[in-house]
Amino acid sequence: MESWHYTVIIVAIYAALILWVGTGRWTRVGRVAMDDYFKVAPGFGFIVLYLGIAGGFHTAFAIPGSMGFYYTHGVAFAANVLWTVFTPLGVIYFIGSRITCLGRKFNYITPTDLLVDYFGEGKFRAFSALFMLSCCIPLMTANVTGPARLLSSGTEGNIPYLGALLIMGVMVTIYVTSSGIRGVTWTTVAQAIWMFVAVWAAAFWCLTLFDGGMSTLFDAIQETEPELLTLPGPQGLATPQWWATFPVFGIALYWAILPRGFLFFYSARDVQTTRKIGLTVGFYLMALYVPSMVIGFTAFYFFPGLTGGDADNSFPLLLATYAPAWFAGLIVAGGLAAGMSSMDADTNANSAMLTKDVYASFIKKDASDRHYISVGRIFVVILVAITVWAAAYNWGLVVLMIGVTAAMITQILPAVIAVTVPMPLRFTKAGVTTGMIIGLAASMTALLGGQSFDFGALQVTVPNLLPESLARFDAAFIGLAVNVPITLIVSQFTEPPDPAAVARIHGALNDEFRPKRT
């Protein structure tokens, strides 16, 4: 047997395991209902949802993206501590638990359900759903490119890049259409464990390539590229402005309020489950990225001088060159786990929004839940097809696409906080809608300004409208800095939400989070 055959065997074992876990009898439910397909009506307990959120929140950025980041920008990646700790202790603990509270009390299925229950129905539902959906397509596309490259490299090109994309797409389609969020969550439990073992195993394997371990690696980097050991890094990325805005606004604040996050929070057994996950899941999230430094620096030591996409591919190159084939298979499967664990959750959440917020609200009302679930399954197939097609088109915009998602999703934060955190400030539908649109325009200006895009016959250069001093801040931060004051100002002069709805929602939050002492 050739060495790449071993990689294929390990990946086939991984695929069989995931399909078994994602379609087994534990994913079956007797009821045919949207609230028990897109989310779990009875709710998951702590351990399953902990690993579901832990794995589901990781994207291809975990493997191999984080290693490529260390390779290119060095310890600037230590900024990951800010988001892997801020998100659970700040956003999941404080906001996520409130989303669980309202989701369970009022049986919300989609993120939009929560917003329209407070601000009112109408075109706002379609606007919110399509806004969030358009945020997620770039992220889904970016998520599958890294693992597909990893699989292709790990099999020495015998599985082509497109073939790798199709394998991931078919697997996700099978278990998401079969079992909805139950399949998503149970497979993510297995994927969370696999990717954790894979990353740590890879780091220890890297250390075996040196005599003397960590100290030898540090000395080697200090001799060849000492700028990798301090901020702002060799490319000058981690400026004070970047460090002050990217980890919090570019990642931490948007990570947990992606649509997939809402579906996980709605699927918690109770508020205490979400709060306990918020208090503890940071240990997993942070520990997953700790070994990335060793791997990224090892790849730099053996293959210095790579840039762009080649730098992101440095870890797969290291594996293909030095690792035993069976071990490379273990890591490749870990990469697939990282990409698929978020792709499936995104697909389920987006399918839920298209089904409930668009199809059931505007196209065919009053159909049975069985019909809507069938439609949801069709949307899953369409969404996966779009993701695979977009990822196959090599437009070199992967990092930019993640930035687009972050900048867009962050703009819904004022609306989410308005609903979930009672406070003496006025928020209206017109206010949050205006804030989202203008905040999005500002963030896109910051993100895309000065960039050139080549679409074959059409070449576009986006004008840079922001001064150089502002352009160094993260685009999501720029958007939010415009969004919040606009939201508050417009809300002062526009029609407030229905007082009965506000009182009902705030009453539920007061009962849970501000109970009267007995």
Partner: protein, 82 residues
């Protein structure tokens, strides 16, 4: 519910909630701002100082907030008479 009756959930109410917020902000600033004070190419146990500083404060941040958060949970359960 009138606006004057509306509770402000942004403001911590109990001692444990205040300690949680205080610890959260303290550790956050140690990573966010403090890192610039240790931005030197120095090895600690073979690892870059910036990396050790950020990861170390991250762990302290997690353990501290988990401790205060569990105290908040216990106090909330007691308040509900559970």
């Amino acid at each position: 519910m009138t606006e004057s009756e509306q509770q402000n959930h942004l403001v911590p109410r109990t001692l444990w909630e205040k300690l949680y917020l205080g610890w959260f902000l303290f550790c956050f600033f140690m990573v966010w701002v403090g890192t610039w004070a240790v931005n030197e190419p120095v090895a600690v146990l073979g690892m870059p100082l910036v990396y050790v500083w950020c990861s170390g404060w991250g762990i302290v941040w997690l353990f501290g907030c988990m401790f205060f958060g569990l105290k908040i949970e216990a106090a909330a359960a007691a308040a509900k008479g559970e």
